[in-house]
């Protein structure tokens, strides 16, 4: 079997019988050394015979290449510096720099100039070096070869020239099938023809395979877990009213978490349509926190700082128990951006309302959710959140990392349920997703979850397990 390149050489030879390696390289546009090695291969396969000779060749040195384009220094001196006039030797030196000595030496030698009393005088008005032509087109037979070699502008070498003779006639390329086409199949011209072989062992060129984004897949799987557990997905907007982000969640208006630097504010005010709800929330704040609640503060707009805002909206919609809902969405917080912090990230928030839901039930829900994402061991720590009581933080045992804080949860404060007029008891929880996603997807920098480098996405292997 012949490779594509071997085939090209054989095709070339079949039309002319004989050729030199030089001609093959030029005519087929192939690299000279690879032509030589391909010819050796063809010889070993008994397809061609080659006769190797060495020819003298001359090659330009680096300096030679430069002179070939710019001209020899003495030529430059006559034509560009002197221009038929006398010039002070120091001026020549300044203008020519390193080439000065060469120009003076060869100018004297060739009797082109005279140097006297610190002045260079030209003897000719214009000059073209006869050896320049040889330099531009090196011909081993030129009389100037030796002088140019001596000036270090050319070097002599030897070139291997192979004279090639085709021994076996081989079916030419045109008679072989390169691409199998509809026409060939219809007219059956493939019969009695060979298929041009391909180098099937070579690696292929790049193919832009498309796939899902690994972090979005993780979010999808979390959704599947929640839906599998009987929860209804709720989606709400990024722009939120403080009323839902804070007030309804029992966060007093002077609470430190409501300070300007803890959320992104948006110009303008929102307008809560349910006036009963507004008065209930006002009453809740004034009764329990003992201050005068300001409706204007509650109207301010912001980018939601937690998905509990979605839970608040769900509660405000008046769900009747038994009720199970969840949301997975982005939240926004001002922070310094680094390997573990970005300005927008995802949270999962869950809500269960039942006639008789208890803290013990809540711990069971958390345990089950974590079991479904492969975290078998969990432990619970007392915690504080403004909107839940009792409150708990759930920790999961994750491989080498040990106990990792996963979720904040608790029984929704009765004040909130009273304000939204929801009967029964409710458990709620929230968890940050990015850190979990980093653990599951083996990502060391949270910013890689939002990589703007397509090669990173292309090179990421798909996960075979969850």
């Amino acid at each position: 079997m012949l490779s594509e390149k071997e085939r090209n050489i054989v095709d070339y030879l079949s039309s002319r019988g004989q050729a030199t390696s030089d001609q093959i390289s030029k005519d087929l546009g192939m690299d000279y050394s690879s032509v030589l090695s391909l010819l050796e291969l063809l010889k070993s396969k008994g397809i061609v015979d080659i006769e190797v000779n060495e020819e003298e060749e001359v090659e330009l040195t680096e300096e030679g290449k430069e002179r070939a384009t710019k001209g020899l220094p003495e030529e430059v001196l006559i034509n560009e510096i002197l221009k038929g006039k006398e010039v002070k030797i120091n001026d020549v030196k300044d203008k020519m720099g390193e080439d000065f000595k060469i120009a003076i030496t060869w100018g004297k030698k060739k009797n082109l100039i005279e140097v006297e009393g610190g002045v260079v005088k030209p003897k000719v008005e214009h000059y073209v070096s006869p050896e320049l032509e040889t330099l531009r087109n090196p011909n081993p037979n030129s009389p100037f070869i030796d002088v140019l070699v001596k000036r270090g502008l050319l070097k002599k070498g030897k070139k291997v020239i192979a004279k090639v003779t085709l021994l076996k006639p081989i079916a030419s390329q045109t008679e072989m099938i390169t691409t199998l086409t509809h026409d060939i199949l219809v007219n059956e011209s493939w019969k009695n023809k060979e298929f041009r072989p391909f180098n099937v062992e070579a690696f292929p060129p790049f193919f832009p395979l498309a796939k899902k984004h690994f972090f979005k897949e993780f979010l999808d799987k979390l959704k599947d877990v929640m839906v599998g557990l009987g929860f209804k997905e709720i989606v709400t907007d990024y722009i939120e009213i403080e009323f839902y982000n804070f007030d309804l969640l029992f966060q007093p208006q002077d609470h430190p978490a409501r300070e300007i630097h803890d959320s992104f504010s948006i110009k303008g005010n929102g307008n809560v349509k349910d006036s009963n709800l507004i008065s209930n929330v006002k009453e809740m704040h004034e009764k329990w926190w003992k201050y005068t609640w300001n409706p204007d503060i509650s109207k301010r707009l912001l980018l939601r700082s937690h998905t509990t805002a979605t839970t608040a909206r769900t509660l405000a919609s008046g769900p009747t128990p038994p009720f199970r809902s969840f949301t997975i969405g982005k939240v926004f917080r001002p922070d310094a951006i680094d390997a573990t912090h970005i300005l927008e990230f995802h949270q999962l928030d869950g809500l269960i309302i039942e006639e008789d839901f208890s803290f013990k039930d809540l711990l069971g829900v958390l345990k089950e959710i974590f079991a479904r994402i492969g975290i078998e061991k969990v432990k619970f720590k007392p915690a504080y959140f403004p909107f839940t009581e009792p409150s708990v933080e759930a920790y999961g045992l994750i491989g080498k990392l040990g106990w990792v804080e996963l979720s904040g949860a608790g029984m929704l404060r009765p004040e909130i349920l009273e304000a939204v007029r929801v009967k029964g008891r409710a458990g709620a929880w929230g968890l940050g997703i990015e850190r979990l996603a980093m653990l599951y997807t083996g990502t060391d920098d949270v910013r890689k979850l939002y990589s703007y480098d397509i090669e990173y996405l292309r090179d990421r292997k798909v996960s075979l397990r969850w």
């Binding site: 832009p208 395979l209 997905e233 907007d237 722009i239 307008n271 009792p390 480098d453």
Partner: protein, 539 residues
């Protein structure tokens, strides 16, 4: 979380604990500890300010270890000091108490200052709501203390100074003055609140600074404490926590007679009747009354069987109703001992329709050979065109607006991938934010799908044909209507129309001037459609 710093050796000695024991006990008090050198950092939850000093920690841990149970009763003796509260418009409430026989040394003094500062930061809302002044009683010459407004040219020697300064100089030239001076100054009347001796000596100008004259030192034995603020409730809570902790540390509390419009008693203990059944149901635990009583005793709270009630210790400002008591009972019972109730799901839940359409359209886009990408919602104003939401308090110019289209974000993505292997075919489904006057916020999210091609050539048809097939697969027959767009080359720009003339998106070849703006040197074709708009047609 509030972090307090204590001397490690001293704390362990005071609590009579080993370090690992301390860590476990704190875990059950919602707190965490971290040792660094000679000191120990304790993170306490903001709802338990009574734990902001070693005295409060000792009280709680003594209960957990059952070294001391039930409410610690700190007697309140009467003193012959009085506080006259006059009208102070910007900061109307003031209260005072005396704690005697305090054994101060360098560490304890530091701790009391720390407790004061942490109370300022939390309940005090950075001194806006509450501020505390602690004075050496021995240096106070009069039995009558007055809280009133003083003019800004009134003079006193503030803490850390040697000479008399006018109040306004103090506000302008001291660090505390600059930081807190604006809180209670009455600009209209040109006054500041002041706690003063009867003879006119200023003891403090709350919430800014005390006087040098009444400075507490390690030699101080008896303390005069004033608390002022804008909320009577918070002022009372603060003084109660402070003096309860000092009393736990060995001090004796003396009341100061308060003359004011409001009737104010320090260390008032409220009764709370507990609905036992409700507590049991909230927790899901069957606890009999004796157990409840025992657990609350460990929590340093007295429970009375006859009346099913508790007395809320004055320093426990976090307890307002049954659920708060339920949490305390659970903490004393031990969260680790509560066996989670096995969760049963009776039926499958549901996905939001937007999730369903998104999943389908993502499959189709991948089938069309587009790689999914995930970009940020926040971007810079410069990248966006048209009406978009601006962040009022951005922390970086790179993220000062909310995207109103995926196209600029996708162009930003492409501009960073010009050296990658071509062709670059990407898609994203993600939310943008647009105006919507019907919503309570005036805005709404819209889920968009954007498919994009960047290659040595990227023509209109090369993005139109995959889009067309995606829509046909959703049983949607689109029409394309030539339309000018700021994104696309004129004559190579169209809207996508479905159903009854509804525009669901647009497509085209990106304008060279826009490519130049994003520093993109290859042609790009993009289509963007709204999944929310498609939803109304497919379901």
């Amino acid at each position: 979380m509030v972090t307090i710093n204590l001397n490690r050796e001293r704390l362990l000695k005071k609590l009579n604990l080993r370090e690992d024991e301390l860590e476990d006990l704190l875990f059950n008090l919602k707190s965490e500890s971290k040792v660094s050198g000679d000191s120990i950092e304790i993170e306490v939850n903001a709802d338990r300010p009574d734990l902001f000093s070693s005295d409060g920690l000792k009280r709680a841990i003594d209960g957990l270890k059952e070294r001391a149970v039930g409410e610690p009763k700190y007697p309140v003796f009467e003193s012959d000091y009085e506080l006259k509260v006059e009208e102070v418009r910007k900061r109307p409430y003031a209260i005072a108490a005396i704690v005697k026989e305090i054994k101060l040394d360098e560490e304890y003094l530091k701790e009391i200052i720390q407790l004061q500062e942490k109370l300022h930061a939390t309940i005090g809302r950075k001194r806006k709501k509450v501020a505390i002044g602690i004075h050496d009683l021995g240096k106070i010459t009069s039995k009558t203390i007055v809280y009133k407004e003083v003019p800004l040219d009134y003079k006193f020697v503030p803490l850390g100074e040697r000479r008399l300064l006018e109040v306004k100089e103090v506000l302008q030239s001291t660090n505390q003055g600059k930081e807190y001076g604006n809180i209670s100054i009455d600009q209209d009347r040109g006054t500041m609140p002041a706690i003063m001796e009867e003879n006119g000596n200023v003891m403090s100008i709350p919430p800014v600074i005390n006087s040098e004259h009444t400075r507490i030192t390690q030699k101080s034995k008896d303390l005069f404490i004033d608390v002022t603020g804008t909320s009577l409730h918070a002022v009372l809570q603060t003084i109660n926590i402070l003096i309860s902790n000092l009393a736990e540390g060995g001090g004796k509390i003396y009341s100061v007679k308060i003359h004011s419009r409001d009737r104010i008693d320090i260390m008032k203990r409220e009764e709370l009747v507990i609905d036992k059944l409700r507590v049991q149901k909230v927790l899901g635990l069957r606890l009999d009354e004796k157990e409840i009583q025992h657990l609350l005793a460990k929590d340093r709270i007295d429970y009375f069987l006859e009346s099913s009630s508790i007395i809320i210790p004055p320093y426990r400002v976090d307890i307002i109703r049954d659920e708060d008591i339920a949490e305390d009972i659970a903490m004393m019972y031990g969260y680790s001992k509560i066996e989670p109730q096995r969760f049963v799901s009776y039926k499958l839940g549901t996905y939001d329709n937007i999730t369903l359409i998104e999943r389908t359209i993502k499959e189709l886009s991948i089938g069309a050979g587009f790689q999914e990408v995930f970009t940020y919602v926040l971007t810079k104003k410069d990248n966006l065109i048209g009406d978009y939401v601006v962040i009022e308090n951005p922390i970086s110019d790179e993220y000062n607006a909310v995207r109103n289209s995926l196209i600029p974000v996708i162009l930003d993505f492409l501009s960073k991938n010009q050296h990658s292997r071509f062709p670059v075919k990407i898609f994203e489904s993600g939310d943008i934010v647009v105006r919507n006057k019907d919503n309570e916020t005036g805005y709404k999210n819209e889920r968009m799908l954007t498919i994009a091609l960047m290659d040595s050539k990227a023509g209109y048809e090369e993005i139109q044909s995959p889009l067309h097939q995606i829509l046909l697969n959703l049983s949607i027959q689109p029409k394309y209507s030539s339309k000018e767009s700021p994104y696309f080359i004129k004559g190579r720009s169209a809207s996508v129309i479905i159903g009854n003339n509804e525009e669901i998106g647009s497509l085209g070849e990106i304008r060279p001037e826009l490519l130049k703006k994003f520093d993109i040197k290859y042609p790009v074709a993009i289509a963007e459609i709204s999944l929310n708009k498609i939803l109304t047609h497919v379901y």
